[in-house]
């Protein structure tokens, strides 16, 4: 197996996640796309851990998973609050700070 096939899978996943964050209108979908990007990072961490024969890659992947869980909790609470205040989670409706 080549090192690059895993790294390129991570790059493709990250690019798909970027597309999801930029193009989707639903707030929950934006959060899901962020999860995609975090997972792309995880696979790079694990594969570099294998490549260099260290366990740190796995440890950092675990840390990223824990931070992602916290991020989803707070993110969904924010989306819920937006829905309660504006009765919409369409991110294109939230343009109060547009200059």
């Amino acid at each position: 197996m080549l090192l690059n096939q895993f790294l390129m899978l991570g790059a493709v996943l990250f690019a798909v996640g970027v597309y999801g964050v930029l193009a989707r209108r639903n707030g929950v979908m934006v959060l899901m796309s962020i999860e995609l990007m975090l997972n792309a990072v995880n696979i790079n961490l694990v594969v570099f851990g294998v490549q260099h024969g260290v366990v740190s890659g796995q440890v950092f992947a675990l840390f990223v998973i824990a931070v992602a869980a916290a991020e989803v909790g707070v993110g969904l609470a924010i989306v819920l609050l937006l829905y309660r205040n504006r009765t919409s989670i369409d991110v294109e409706d939230f343009d109060l700070m547009r200059g």
């Binding site: 197996m1 690059n4 096939q5 895993f6 390129m8 899978l9 790059a11 493709v12 996943l13 990250f14 690019a15 798909v16 996640g17 970027v18 597309y19 930029l22 193009a23 989707r24 209108r25 639903n26 707030g27 929950v28 959060l31 899901m32 796309s33 999860e35 995609l36 997972n39 995880n42 696979i43 694990v46 594969v47 490549q51 260099h52 024969g53 366990v55 740190s56 796995q58 440890v59 675990l62 840390f63 998973i65 824990a66 931070v67 992602a68 869980a69 916290a70 991020e71 989803v72 909790g73 707070v74 969904l76 609470a77 989306v79 819920l80 609050l81 829905y83 309660r84 989670i89 991110v91």
Partner: protein
């Protein structure tokens, strides 16, 4: 070696196709199910990379907890379950160009730098005990910081979401 490559091909095809369907489907519940497929495929890839504990955590935390949270989010925000709401904004061509450019540049630089460097397959295999040894010795301070962060996120989510 050949078997591993075959499995990598199958799993990465599942992951990439599900990811692309996730960001293009018009039904938000389908998108959540495609995300489950992506996460499960990545968990299997972690097993392929001998990271068994990361794979277990992926299944427990992502497919178990985070997906339930997402489904609750979908239900509580009364997201249109059919094709009622236009799910993709008008600026999607620009987003696609940005994503393709970013992926292209990243893949180009990866090919340039790593070329056909082979993955080290005869290196040490770290089991769950080794991972926990590392977490509770070298990385004890980040571990404690993570636990405080989780507590802060828990309290923050409750404060944000409660009604008063």
């Amino acid at each position: 070696m050949v078997a591993q490559n075959i499995f990598f091909g199958i799993l990465s095809a599942i992951v990439v196709i599900s990811a692309v369907r996730m960001v293009t489907t018009r039904n938000i519940v389908h998108a959540a199910l495609y995300l489950v497929a992506v996460l499960a495929g990545l968990g299997a890839l972690y097993v392929l990379l001998t990271a068994e504990f990361v794979a277990t955590t992926q299944v427990l935390v992502y497919i178990g907890a985070v997906m339930v949270l997402f489904l609750f989010g979908i239900m509580l925000t009364k997201a249109p379950l059919g094709n009622v709401m236009e799910m993709t904004g008008k600026q999607w061509p620009i987003a696609a160009v940005v994503a393709v450019l970013m992926g292209g540049v990243t893949i180009y630089s990866l090919l340039n730098h790593f070329g056909s460097e082979r993955l080290v397959t005869d290196g040490p295999i770290y089991r769950t005990a080794d991972v926990s040894d590392e977490v509770f010795s070298t990385y004890i301070v980040p571990f404690e910081a993570i636990s405080v962060l989780l507590l802060a996120a828990l309290i923050g989510a409750i404060v944000l979401a409660r009604k008063d």
